[in-house]
């Protein structure tokens, strides 16, 4: 991944600090009963919460419910938010818990948990090592590609899927993901590695380079 120029990094870091200050003042105003300040927080994060919820629950209606329930729960419990973490990390934690509850209900499966550290058949050692086409995402139409990606990530255990989405799709740091999921940092790293490798392995059949061709079937 490309290194940024130090001046560019400084500007980005300053913007991140400004956004954090701005976020804290919105949270303070919302705690004081200002619903329009809370509205700003909803507008800032509703898309992220919807994506996370849909990835975990794999169900559109459940994801809609999670967005509503998570924000309402956050609003009701704002007093308990001490500001030791970012508001967003705290909100993600609420949304992940709501999503897992939905998933358990729908599957009638009480065992769905982030604590599961599943040893699957396809653990870390890659079984198939084949190079991919230079631009694999261009082998398929946009809709087909999305379907492949959806189907592939849905096949992962919930605990792996959740870590991957928070870290690699939503861009949380390892520390933030650990806090949001109530997991240790080594546990986040271990699940992330296995999620990444399992996704890679499963995408092989769609993206690998065909001998003497462009990989397209």
């Amino acid at each position: 991944m490309e290194k940024l120029h130090p001046e560019t990094m400084a500007i980005i870091e300053q913007r991140v600090r400004d956004a954090a200050t701005d976020e804290m003042s919105l949270v303070r105003a919302a705690k004081g009963g200002d619903v329009s300040a809370f509205e700003q927080l909803v507008k800032r994060y509703d898309r992220n919460i919807f994506r996370i919820a849909q990835h975990i629950t794999q169900n559109r209606e459940d994801a809609e419910d999670v967005v509503q329930d998570a924000f309402l729960k956050a609003y009701e419990n704002l007093e308990q938010f001490q500001g030791n973490s970012k508001f967003y990390t705290w909100l993600v934690r609420i949304a992940v818990n709501e999503s897992l509850m939905k998933l358990r209900r729908r599957r009638s499966d009480r065992t769905v948990s982030l604590d599961e550290d599943i040893e699957t058949e396809e653990d870390t050692m890659p079984r198939e090592v084949a190079d991919w086409s230079p631009n694999p995402e261009q082998l398929y139409k946009q809709g087909e590609l999305k379907e492949i990606l959806r189907k592939t990530i849905q096949g992962l255990p919930a605990s792996f899927r959740t870590v991957f989405v928070l870290r690699d799709v939503e861009g949380l740091s390892t520390e933030e993901a650990a806090e949001a999921l109530d997991l240790s940092i080594p546990a986040v790293k271990s699940r992330l590695l296995r999620a990444r490798l399992q996704l890679r392995e499963r995408l092989n059949k769609y993206f690998r380079q065909a001998k003497g061709g462009d990989g397209k079937k």
Binding site: V42, F50, R51, Y75, L149, T174, K189, F207
Partner: protein, 83 residues
């Protein structure tokens, strides 16, 4: 360094959260191990594809409906707590 050792460090290597001496060892391994080179590149590509995929975007009409629903619940909560 074995391929298993390389894989253990892959996540930190891709996230660039690794010290320079381990990084040098990993890159040394990558220079001669084609399998790890391919696994590393395709894993990196996997992350990029998912990050850029825009799966599960929230449509504007649904977004508006959800915002209205959330804020009306918050407002009625506030009214109740004020009474």
């Amino acid at each position: 360094m074995t391929c298993a050792d390389f894989l253990k460090e892959l996540t930190d290597y891709l996230d660039e959260t690794i010290d320079s001496s381990t990084r040098a060892e990993l890159e040394d391994h990558l220079a001669w191990c084609h399998n790890c080179y391919v696994v590393c590149n395709t894993t990196k590509k996997t992350i990029e594809i998912y990050r850029d995929s825009q799966l599960y975007e929230l449509p504007d009409d649904l977004r508006s409906r959800l915002q209205v629903a959330i804020l009306s619940k918050c407002t009625s909560k506030k009214k109740k707590s004020n009474t």
